[in-house]
Symmetry: D3
Subunit: 287 residues, 6 copies
């Protein structure tokens, strides 16, 4: 489709009310899934984030990195034990997780933001004692799978104040400087709560929460916290959606303005969520 | 034409390189002509200015107001004397000029910016002793037609620092607090020079400077200062274009980055100038 | 009378305790009446205001402009309809009110302050959305006579912070950017309340509230809010004094330190009020 | 003489141009002589200084204290040796000089400023290493009579920035923390130079420099640096005037705007110098 | 004992946890007794204070000066009357007290801090109206012995902010600028309370509070506020310890973190208190 | 050896002059070699760096990580090609270099600083576009071995301003966001020059430059830039010392105050260099 310069100008101007509404707002974005592995999608996410920054928002990026971790573990021949379907993070695995997340994925995102014209600083939860953690599993069976104990957002605040976009690897630090591997959704939610963010956006590989996953028209646009329990019992919230919805619930009940589960496979999904009245995906609200 | 949400997102993102380039830049806009009298065009100019502010630029608006002045003079039955085709500004006329520009046109623009979601402050050259002036014509025949003697941009700097868009009526103040009526193009150029602005944009009712005004394909996109004299002698720069080009020359030789004469009759002409590679109108460069 | 330099020095020093007491205080001055039409009185008011600024106070000037509005309406042959003795402000009238107040009277005061050595910025209630208004009369019979709905003092705070004296035309802005004509006393009171000003001074053409207007010795120096109702019923507060006293009551009950109705016909009446123990005029106190 | 409130207001307003001219200026005042010993004069000096501060100037007070030192030396039976008419400052004398100047005179002035409504901090040249000194006399015969080697005005700048009036005892500090007794005129001049002060005022017990000390009409109002040498040779600048004029010359040639030798016996002499066109005393100018 | 460079480095590093804990803390030190009269001890106290400043603490020094006052009174032949064992401070005595404390002792400490590499400003309670006082004894028998009425810590805060160590002579200022002689322990406690200091340290000439003053092993390391009354009745807190303990009680109940009575005769006693786990002396805690 | 608390206090105080001299100074430390691999030495370096920060210096850490890279390459079976003895960094190698340096070594140092009581932020040359690089070898044979093209120290300045210790992995970023592997000594020198650091310290595994490496008494304490060429020709500067000396020369000639090559195998070598008069190792000076 050919859009004339004039039409483009009109479209820019249409964005004004949204730009105004979101001016100065803090938006925590959990970045992962297809949006991170697909090269083209990845570039669009970077552009969305940089655009947000330039029009006055403060995006904060928290990323995962599962596929790259798996690949490196496999190259090194490190076998993982599984407990209840979750991978146990032993010391050898933890070393690789930290290297891949903090040294590779994190810096690639930073470079991607620079390539799109923004300025970013990549940190992990160890920097500035940002994410203090302890074992997620009291029994110790899961190894160094961690749980957020406390977020000290000072460093993030400073990075934002200094004009950079913070990009955060979900590594926690425990007693004796032990590293912990924490689920990126949980980290994003905890950071959003600690900063009283205005918005939390989880990028996923589904369109949102659906009444019937097989029916693309059954998307639930707005999910109330009060409905969650029933939906879980009815099996509508199931599988990978359970922890994602839980993160959103924790965030909105913890003071975050709005939370969204959106489809990262859709190009520019973040902009679509912010710059259109309909939004996309499922919004979880504190009602 | 129907543009999907996705396409709109793409178009926003296309603007990123321009947004980045102009971030923090100061752009003085001389606002007048059809863009001020046509209601729809007017609203688009307001939107353009507000958008510029939100994406990090610092627009400074200098406005004229000829038609509204004429209308009020006529309603009051004030006859104007003309010398060499220029209207003499006697005391009775000056009173009306100042009232119309500072009390009506200026505040309408301020209200228009607010209506488009921005924040503005309307001032005249009297406020903060912004524009100090003396008679343009030593002989005194032209009355209170003034010439900029000195611009003290402190107040404009403060207005920008405080987050507002300055809107300036081209009234000067002379000795004994005498008001002077100054051409808005000249005021815009003088302010741009005093602030070392990055850009000066003159909105006119022509497409720019043309080799042959009758041929819409003869637009001169780039005019070098060194070419001006020849073009004047050849009659290519003639009529109303003479003072406009002169303003641009004074601005670029006075330290302003770039100056443009653009067609205010084109909707969103300011955005088109800034957000497209080709730009529109005639750019005067210091070569 | 000849006063020696030494005696002048003594008099300056006598002012010290008052200067100390008022250091950093905000004083909203409603400027109007004879003090605005008489050329000599006018100059003295300007001097008083500039002196206040230099000795560390923060004067905020709100002005009226009735006579100049009437004169212009009459020159234009605009007839006014009256309802219950109040002039109806139709669209044609509103246009002139705004032009005269914002474009002429306001800027003359600004220039007068500069002439006395101060620095001022003239704004109207439209600038920075300072005064948000709606129709004073629900029935719509009064046209665009407005009532203050909300004052956003941010712009005034900034103007003061930047070292300028704010001069404010009593124009309000309503929905759809409609202008409203608001009584200057009401605007002064609303601004004083919004800024938690230390003092509100209304310049009038009477010595203050009097037990018997015919007896110049019957001035009521201090009026308690609790006495107002009785005085109104007794007819002591009557005519033009009713709204003025009402403004003072709203101000002191709204958190303004002190409010004064003083005689603008007395030269340097503002300084007399501030720099003498007795003060002048009537002070309304929240008791 | 009875001056009405109105006349007082007029007189305040007459001061406006002077207040404006001196706004933000730094004035170093050497305080001593009769103005310090006479109780009534003393109070007036305090008032003058506080008034200066409130109208926006920055007075810096350097004081002497000869009579109080003499009195204490005499009470303690400390005999002074004299060399060429100058008192030798041995260790026993220095101890008393420092105690009297820093502990008594300095704090009395501070208290006097507070009594007049100002805020002051009393320091000596030891505080913050303000005045670094060495022996004035290389031969060592004069003991601890010192010469200013270096002024580090940082502490004075901070005191001013914090809103206090600095009051300085003329004690210098040398190697090994040795205290030195330095002439207050010299200290005032050195401080004025180090701060690039706008004015240095020396309070004395004479009307200024006179062609003929016996003739009160022979005051020299303006003394050019270029005239000094001749006047010294002619004996017009003689006795105690020699060092005072020398201080002024050092100050104006060192970058201080203006320097004045005025009569501290005249009530409010400082205000008279600043707030009248004629000024009083002798002004030394760099010509 | 010879300590190698390497061992010294180890010892510096051992101090790290203490340095970290005390970073940014405010410590009010009452300086007096042997630590002030013994030359070597004095130098060590100065070093301790400067070291505290350089490693990030904010020491505030309040000093006494009894011996030097006595010596000067005796040199001047001023006889003191005593009431209940306390010296009556008549006007003649007060003059000497103020001179000696503010002019001699205070400035010697300032010079000592400079000699050890720090930056200090010496003030008395008169400067900036720091310590407002009234007679300690209502009957007037004690003369100008004062009691702290109000501490305005603004000046101390500014001195600290500006990077200097404040050194304070315990002189109070009453109505009519009357000076008062106040016990330095009381001043230190009042200042500590007014600033919500983290620590108050009283340097004394005893090891602390002892169960049996004759038995050096009977030191009470921690004294609870709740125990004080009993200990006073049992005579364990007696003599000079009564007011010292009282000061500590007032401080800790007034919001000061911790208070200590330590032995100023021990070299570097302040550092020992801060940089060792055991501390020294008696700590009074709010339990 | 047993050192008493008192002796420890004395040793702390001995450090005062050094602390004073280095207050506010910026010290770039190249951290590598044995000091990084030996666990005990490592802890001591962390302590030294934290101590420096607490006593007012600004340490900036640049680290290598050769052994850990080699180990990971070997675990992954990545073979390296060598050209003239230098390892070629192909894409597969670069990926591992970046992961190990930025994700493992960098964060371990950050955690170590936190364990010692400091606050750190770990970044690589990609963050904030800190280190812009291009291929070291024009022929392309060396792969992604980089050379510093430009250092933008803004991010480091901000990190310091915010109170953190910056820890920097020597990864550069080139066109198209390509990562480059740069020698850590070169990065440390370039950063020191870009910040006009006061000191550059290179931790090595030798005592410094020696006349005869076999003779431990032949250490050259001070090396002048003017002597370097001769020493190179004489073979005294040889092998690994050549690039290290070259870094120092570039730094001192580029405006860095002092540069040092010291023995990281000596415990607390950094403190020894700074806190002893003799220093350790070889200092390169710009003479």
């Amino acid at each position: 489709m050919i859009v004339s310069a004039m039409e483009k100008a009109e479209i820019l101007v249409e964005a004004l009310p949204y730009i105004k509404d979101f001016y100065g707002r803090r938006v925590v974005i959990k970045y992962g899934g297809a949006a991170m592995t697909d090269c083209e999608l990845k570039q669009k996410v970077m552009q969305d984030i940089v655009l947000m920054k330039f029009v006055g928002m403060h995006p904060i990026v928290v990323h995962g990195g599962g596929p790259e971790i798996n690949q490196m573990l496999s190259r090194l021949g490190i076998q993982s034990e599984f407990v209840n379907g979750f991978r146990v993070t032993d010391a050898a695995t933890m070393e690789i997780v930290e290297m891949v997340l903090g040294g590779k994925v994190n810096k690639e995102i930073v470079a991607g933001i620079h390539a799109s014209g923004g300025k970013a600083v990549g940190i992990s939860g160890k920097d500035g004692m940002l994410i203090q953690a302890h074992p997620a599993d009291g029994s110790g069976k899961m190894g160094f799978v961690g749980e957020v104990q406390y977020v000290n957002p000072e460093l993030i605040e400073k990075v934002i104040e200094n004009g950079y976009i913070p990009v955060i690897a979900p590594i926690g630090i425990g007693e004796d400087q032990q590293s912990y591997n924490i689920n990126a959704d949980l980290v994003a939610a905890a950071i959003a709560v600690s900063m009283k963010a205005d918005k939390l956006v989880l990028l996923t590989d589904v369109p949102g929460l659906m009444m019937n996953p097989a029916d693309s028209n059954s998307l639930i646009s707005v999910l109330k916290v009060s409905e969650v329990e029933n939906y879980v019992q009815e099996g509508i919230i199931a599988g990978g959606m359970v922890p994602k919805v839980q993160c959103c619930v924790e965030a909105v009940t913890g003071g975050v303005g709005r939370t969204h589960i959106i489809d990262g496979r859709v190009p520019h999904s973040i902009l679509l969520e912010i710059f259109t009245d309909e939004g996309i995906g499922t919004m979880v609200v504190n009602e």
